[in-house]
């Protein structure tokens, strides 16, 4: 089934409710209410992974994935900023391999600002944020070559990855690097689980900035996101119940669920 080209009234109401829940949670958190976030091992391991590189005196490699400027990549850049700050405080070199040219200036600026925020602007080396290739496998092989030549101690793979995920992570594993990965695409998660030490799964990926910084705005957004998820689960249960009921009574003609989710071409 293709995606909706335009929202119908049901989608507008659902989408609006979820946005409202998230915004209200943010406002509540900004007023100083304590909010609990469960432990996420993959994100907790980031400090350990940077520490390992520092102890070994070897660099870190960070890949923000294959896509250009999009939501998943922006999250990867937020994690990159955090990792660079940690690495800069510990005088550890970090190399960033870029695939999409449009991401290159943004990533370079993120790294430069993270070095400045850590109080070590002089440690920034423009060569360490490098465009490798915008061809999928050329990027993978270029990154693997970089990891091998620089003898990296730690690899971070955060962003959108595709078939090259296994090439990157399996070679990193062969080099003995500690690897932390996170990808919103569920197809790539098994490959990362098989080859990386820590993996951030599913919506944990988008929890990263809140988890790492613990800033009230982001924490509130994370809690709102969980409430919205609960709403969606409730709707799913209701939908399954109603579909089962109408199926059982044989009244499939009156399938209003299908109408609710039908294409929005007719509008509201």
């Amino acid at each position: 089934m293709g995606g909706l080209e335009h929202a119908n009234w049901f989608m507008s109401a659902l989408f609006g409710s979820m946005c409202l829940i998230i915004v209200i949670s943010v406002l509540v958190a900004q007023r100083g209410r304590e909010m609990f976030i469960r432990r996420i091992p993959g994100l907790t391991a980031i400090k350990e992974a940077v520490g390992r590189a520092t102890e070994m005196g070897r660099p870190i490699f960070f890949s923000p994935g294959l896509r250009g400027i999009e939501i998943a990549t922006l999250q990867a850049l937020a994690i990159l900023s955090y990792v660079v700050r940690l690495a800069a405080e510990r005088a550890t070199r970090i190399i960033v391999g870029i695939c999409e040219p449009e991401l290159y200036p943004v990533a370079e600026e993120s790294v430069r600002e993270a070095y400045e925020a850590a109080g070590r602007p002089e440690a920034f080396r423009s060569d360490d944020v490098r465009f490798i290739s915008n061809e999928q496998f050329a990027y993978a092989l270029g990154s693997v070559g970089l990891m091998a030549r620089e003898q990296v101690a730690t690899n971070f793979f955060f962003g959108m990855f595709f078939a090259e995920s296994l090439i990157l992570a399996e070679n990193g594993q062969a080099l003995g690097a500690l690897q932390v990965a996170g990808c919103p695409d569920p197809v790539q998660i098994p490959f990362f689980i098989a080859t990386c030490d820590y993996v951030v799964i599913g919506d944990e990926y988008y929890a990263a900035s809140a988890y790492l910084t613990r800033e009230p705005t982001l924490t509130g957004s994370l809690v709102g996101q969980d409430i919205a998820k609960a709403l969606l689960v409730a709707l799913l249960i209701l939908g399954v119940g109603l579909a089962t009921y109408f199926g059982a009574v044989g009244n499939e003609e009156y399938n209003f669920l299908r109408q609710l989710l039908a294409t929005g071409a007719t509008g509201s």
């Binding site: 040219p101 290159y104 060569d127 490098r130 465009f131 919506d203 988008y206 705005t217 957004s221």
Partner: protein
């Protein structure tokens, strides 16, 4: 008025007008960027980014949520690529906005090439270890550029009857004879990487790994003829049919794997929505976003 605004985004067919528009756009962009760099501090720059992000998000959001009517409000200046599709007031602008984003993205290719030349130029100039790789990069880039452009601007000939010109033949050799096979060879390496990753993943160390191994074994063997043969003694109908390996494998994929995957996708989608909302309202923290107050 809407028509005249839309017509600005239409492609230009007359060459003099095209070159004039190109020159104006390029000079205008450089002047605008120079002025912004000169007069906007970090705070101003963040405000500008927040404003552009908000307006962009608002436009795309409204286009999705505004009610649609079939083939109405379409400006005459723009050909409608899909007349049967519903549209609202903002729909005609979607394609020009997409093209604008592609054009901005295309400018950054130059930055990518600059980065590569900078890194490999230093490596070559200082004879760092592996400098020969940098030399190979420059040779490959120059060869592809020269023969690519040369082949592109050669006069068109009937390829069926004519001998392929030398520049085009060299370009074909470099692209189809060298680059494409290298890509295919890299892709084929995945088979070996999958085998070694699977070996590591399936080592039974914990109860979860054992469960995964058992499920993987059933799914894999259920998809090959030997799996069907092993349980061919079981009936094809009735309760016992469920225990035929091909049926069991299908059941694991449909009833266990698919719901788990969909659950992850739901979580990711809501996480993406929350992240989009934070970026749209400039609530996100870090580079390009404001610091926590």
């Amino acid at each position: 008025m809407w028509d005249s605004i839309q017509s600005v985004f239409q492609p230009t067919t007359s060459p003099p007008q095209l070159y004039r528009n190109l020159a104006v756009a390029l000079i205008g962009s450089f002047v605008l960027l120079a002025l912004l760099h000169r007069f906007l501090g970090p705070r101003g720059r963040r405000w500008l980014i927040a404003f552009v992000t908000f307006v962009g998000g608002l436009y795309l959001g409204l286009e999705y949520f505004l009610p649609v009517r079939t083939a109405v409000l379409w400006p005459t200046a723009i050909p409608n690529p899909n007349p049967d599709r519903g549209a609202n007031l903002l729909t005609p602008g979607i394609e020009p906005v997409g093209i604008m984003m592609s054009v901005i993205g295309a400018f950054t290719v130059g930055l990518g090439i600059y980065s590569l030349c900078q890194v490999h130029g230093r490596s070559l100039g200082q004879r760092r270890p592996g400098w020969h790789n940098s030399l190979a990069f420059f040779l490959a880039m120059v060869a592809m550029l020269v023969f690519g452009f040369w082949a592109h601007y050669l006069p068109k000939v009937d390829e069926a009857s004519a001998v392929m010109p030398v520049p085009r033949a060299i370009y074909e050799m470099l692209f189809s004879g060298l680059f494409m096979p290298l890509q295919a060879a890299t892709f084929s390496l995945l088979a070996f990487y999958i085998a070694s990753a699977a070996y590591r993943a399936f080592r039974i160390r914990t109860a979860e790994a054992g469960l995964m191994m058992a499920a993987a074994f059933i799914v894999m063997i259920g998809q090959v003829p030997v799996g069907a043969w092993v349980t061919s003694g079981l009936p094809t109908t009735g309760a016992l049919a469920f225990f035929r390996l091909e049926a069991l494998g299908e059941w694991i994929m449909t009833w266990l794997n698919a719901p788990a995957q969909r659950g992850i996708v739901f979580g990711v989608a809501i996480g993406g929505l929350a992240m989009s909302l934070r970026i749209w309202l400039s609530l996100e923290r870090g580079t390009f976003f404001s610091e926590q107050g």
